[in-house]
Symmetry: C2
Subunit: 209 residues, 2 copies
Amino acid sequence: MTPTTTSQKDERKFEDARKAILERAALLICEQGYEGTSMQQIAVSCGLTKAGLYHYVESKEELLADIMGWGMDIFEEQVLTPVQGIEDPLLRLEECMRRNVLLCTRGWSREITVILHEHQTLRNAAGRTINARKKKYVAFLEQSFREAIARKLVRPEVDPTIAAFSFLGTVLWIYKWFRKDGRLTDEQVADGMVDTFFNGIRPLERSAR
Amino acid sequence: MTPTTTSQKDERKFEDARKAILERAALLICEQGYEGTSMQQIAVSCGLTKAGLYHYVESKEELLADIMGWGMDIFEEQVLTPVQGIEDPLLRLEECMRRNVLLCTRGWSREITVILHEHQTLRNAAGRTINARKKKYVAFLEQSFREAIARKLVRPEVDPTIAAFSFLGTVLWIYKWFRKDGRLTDEQVADGMVDTFFNGIRPLERSAR
């Protein structure tokens, strides 16, 4: 095991503090809107002075970009990367939907998801990077549907683009309605969505599982 | 035909001017955020003085509530009301999806849809009214799925709540991706979504249409 040096410890401490700031800022931005939230308010809610806050982030734009980038990091780590190696395109898509549902319902900040999908405030290079990462996901879904159609695992009349965005809408709408203390568990939601969505696109003779 | 009186003409003129203001305001709020948009900016973009704007709307909160209320009016008029009388619950839901898809893709302001679904700024009585109208739609969908399951038009393992929100997510996500000049027409999107969604919930022996 590599011994942890003081500078590594400092770096980790810095990163932890930074993520705490991102979470707080995400909460405020969701409540008050991006324009309606000042760096002063974010500093106060983090127990920092404004100067202290600027030690961690350069600007409000950078803060928003970082919240979105962090959301994409977690998404790629927990959803996209683990399924990319699954050879069967239909199993790949099913596992992808299941993981994406659970990401929307479990243990990470709902606010970050909201900001990731509802804020189009970033019109700079950082915004283009986030959009490119989102488009990579859409392209991955379309490509997987195309493969599944080519292998006759999905009906030929299914359009890969409509399928990709139906998949995304079904899954990403969850953060608007799912409540942890509701009637349905997140596993039930994941199972129910995978069941109806994939039965809808399978060749009819394959629908029975 | 009832002759049009001067006061009726004035009223219509007032209403037309008001709707033009709502559309302009919706555009600005989408671009800059609700908190980031001032009544002054809205007035300027409508070619009005601030006092002139206050002739049509009492406050910024009222303006936002009116944009949302207008969006719900159009939705109910074009989607919910025309399908409520369809006796067969599955045909009712299919027609409802088709109409809702076309509402998201056709001839009315995309901005109003965005505001209706992304802004939770209203925490007053007007906000509760909007939420109650949205909930009425969810209840209508759940009830129709429940009826369809009871009549064995939908598989018994389908959960009406998951089905209702999958339906909504599939349809409402459209405003985030659909472009009029894209590869797919809105009719293709409506047909594709109705086909895959309803094939996914039908009893397996009924899947073939």
